[in-house]
């Protein structure tokens, strides 16, 4: 089993590293976007698959990460020092909130720190008060509503419904340049690799086992002397950080972020990626994000009207027949084949042994 999972990871990353050789630039750009989603999916796998906490609000963390980086990009793209949309609202001086984002290093750090801080505060108060299950999921949705409303409402600071866009350089380098795009692609692959390595290390550590124990019986964990609150806050922060990283990388490559991309539907879709791939497996989360989004772009190119039906159908399929996702399906098919081979071998042995026995 260990070898199978090791070689699946190897195959995946070899494919990702070679993809620019045989995929059209346009496809590589799409793939890069999906890899950002895969980073986020690993975080959801950790909190939902391993710890059993269903967050339906990871769009917010993704969005915050993206906005932090986008603010820097926007400032760099604004020759007057004030973003164009602010000018339209009659703002003449850059708001204080924006000022530090002129520094790229600040912006990049903020893309991780802001989501983590939010998760820390929200997680601490909900988990400490033993709010869990459906109630936590509802609170995480409320978080989305609050942030989307806030971002749309504060148009003069956030760019409103349109979000932040129209920027094309970072560190003075054009982001639309083909070479730069490729470098960004490989950087994303690198981040995904780091993310996967970190997640595997975490799940193999004793802390990872405790996360699973929390999923299986949170109260039981208390009577072993553990405070589940701190572990749950920890994993919530980890997944928020990964979502922030994903958002930051996303905005660099896609060139825009809007409240719509952090809304309720995207937040639920994120969970679905992980469900499709297999919620109990890091590998599953990664391929789930890549495959579901590939299917999405295939449908929206060829049959734009059918995507939502497909998504709904996929959801029902996963819930009803593939509770462990593609990875679970692969495993059970693999087991069936090996058991059949073993049976065959046994029979062969019996045939061979036949004459001697009798």
């Amino acid at each position: 089993m260990k070898n199978i999972s090791r070689s699946s990871y190897a195959l995946l990353f070899i494919f990702l590293l070679c993809a620019p050789l045989f995929l059209h630039d346009f496809r590589v750009a799409l793939l890069a976007k999906f890899l950002c989603f895969a980073i986020l999916a690993v975080g959801i796998c950790l909190i939902w698959g391993y710890t059993g906490i269903l967050s339906l609000g990871h769009g917010v963390f993704f969005g915050l990460g993206a906005y932090c980086v986008a603010m820097y990009l926007k400032l760099e793209a604004s020759p007057t020092g004030i973003p164009d949309f602010m000018g339209w609202s009659g703002i003449v001086e850059l708001p204080g909130l924006w000022k530090p984002f002129a520094n790229p290093y600040f912006a990049i750090s903020a893309a991780v720190i802001v989501p983590v801080l939010l998760a820390l505060v929200l997680g601490y108060f909900t988990f400490k008060n033993r709010i869990r299950g459906v109630y936590f999921s509802l609170i995480s949705q409320a978080l989305v509503v609050v942030f989307v409303t806030l971002f749309i409402g504060k148009q003069e600071i956030t760019g409103g419904t349109n979000g932040l866009t129209n920027f094309s350089t970072a560190f003075g380098i054009s982001l639309t340049n083909r070479g730069v795009q490729q470098v960004l692609y490989f950087i994303t692959v690198g981040f995904l690799l780091l993310t996967v390595a970190f997640a595997l290390w975490l799940t193999k550590s004793r802390a990872g086992k405790l996360l699973m124990a929390i999923r299986e019986g949170e109260n039981r964990v208390r009577f072993l002397g553990y405070n589940p609150t701190s572990f749950k806050v920890f994993v919530y922060c980890v997944s928020a950080a990964l979502a922030g990283v994903a958002g930051g990388l996303f905005v660099l490559q896609v060139g825009m972020i809007s409240p719509e991309m952090m809304g309720i539907i995207p937040s639920i879709e994120m969970v679905l990626w992980v469900a499709v791939g297999g919620r109990y497996s890091i590998f599953g989360a990664v391929i789930g994000a890549i495959l579901t989004n590939s299917a999405k772009s295939f449908f929206s190119e060829s049959y734009p009207d059918f995507w939502l039906f497909f998504l709904g159908g996929l959801f029902i399929l996963v819930v009803l027949v593939m509770p462990n996702g593609l990875v679970g399906l692969g495993k059970s098919v693999g087991e069936k084949i090996t058991s059949r081979i073993k049976k065959k071998e046994k029979e062969d042995v019996q045939h061979e042994a036949g004459p001697y026995v009798s």
């Binding site: 550590s205 802390a207 699973m212 124990a213 999923r215 299986e216 002397g225 572990f231």
Partner: protein, 250 residues
């Protein structure tokens, strides 16, 4: 002699129904104390109060070395040295037997400590020692959920032992076990008592008679009497309580 655990006038009010009506109890060092009584007497509730699962409406729980513990959070009580085995086996079914024990080992229990914890030879030796004690050496890599019922009970006892508690609370540890398993469990409990005090709730009178020294009888939320099994059996009130419910002590 100073007791390890003292319960003083514990009352528990479940919306007007008093499950405990002022219970006093002392448990001493290296003692195996059996807690018996008819269904609904409040035995489980008393264990719940001691380990912090249920909060007492009135009274104090005092634990040697930690003082008054009845206001402490559950995980702090556990860290102070009180281990609890629940009535229904509550292991972690998707973790292996070994991992169940690994998490239960006495250790620092912060996030950071667990992230950096190493499975060193000392921990391995502890786990091996317990595995042998609870007779699950050959099942170490199986998922705990796959074990037979009796084995699950033992695993849970093992998870309590490996915490190296000062006081172990066992709620009906032999429920659902076969005759041989019961006997093994009885010896295991006595073995445990060499290292910590044990408070056992048990229904099975044969088991109590074979393995108890000191017995506390509860009835309707109060302690009816205390003493050796022989003494308790002679007590008229006890006989009445049990006979009144169609049950016999002997």
């Amino acid at each position: 002699m100073k007791p390890v655990l003292t319960c003083r006038d514990i009352k528990v009010d479940f919306d007007g129904f008093y499950a405990l009506k002022g219970v006093n109890l002392n448990v001493f060092h290296e003692e195996v104390r059996f807690l018996i009584g008819p269904n609904g007497a409040g035995k489980t509730t008393l264990l719940d109060v001691i380990c912090g699962k249920t909060r007492a409406t009135n009274g104090q729980v005092i634990f040697e070395g930690s003082g008054q513990i009845d206001k402490m959070q559950e995980h702090k009580i556990a860290s102070a040295g009180i281990a609890r085995k629940f009535q229904a086996p509550s292991i972690f079914p998707k973790l292996t037997v070994f991992e169940n024990l690994e998490l239960s080992v006495k250790q620092k229990k912060s996030v950071w400590a667990l992230l950096t914890a190493k499975l060193n030879s000392e921990v391995k030796a502890k786990i091996d020692y317990i595995l042998e004690k609870i007779n699950l050496q050959n099942e170490r890599n199986r998922e705990a959920g796959e074990l037979a019922h009796g084995q699950k009970q033992w695993l849970e006892i093992g998870m309590q032992l490996i915490q190296e508690p000062n006081l172990l609370l066992l709620d009906e540890p032999i429920a659902g076990m076969s005759g041989v398993e019961r006997e093994k469990t009885g010896y295991l409990i006595h073995d445990i008592a060499k290292e910590c005090s044990v408070l056992v709730v048990e229904h099975d009178m044969d088991f109590v008679r074979n393995f108890s020294k000191q017995v506390t009888v509860m009835h309707e939320g109060a302690v009816l009497c205390e003493g050796s099994m022989a003494e308790v059996q002679e007590n008229e009130q006890v006989v009445e309580v049990y006979l009144g419910r169609g049950k016999k002590v002997c």
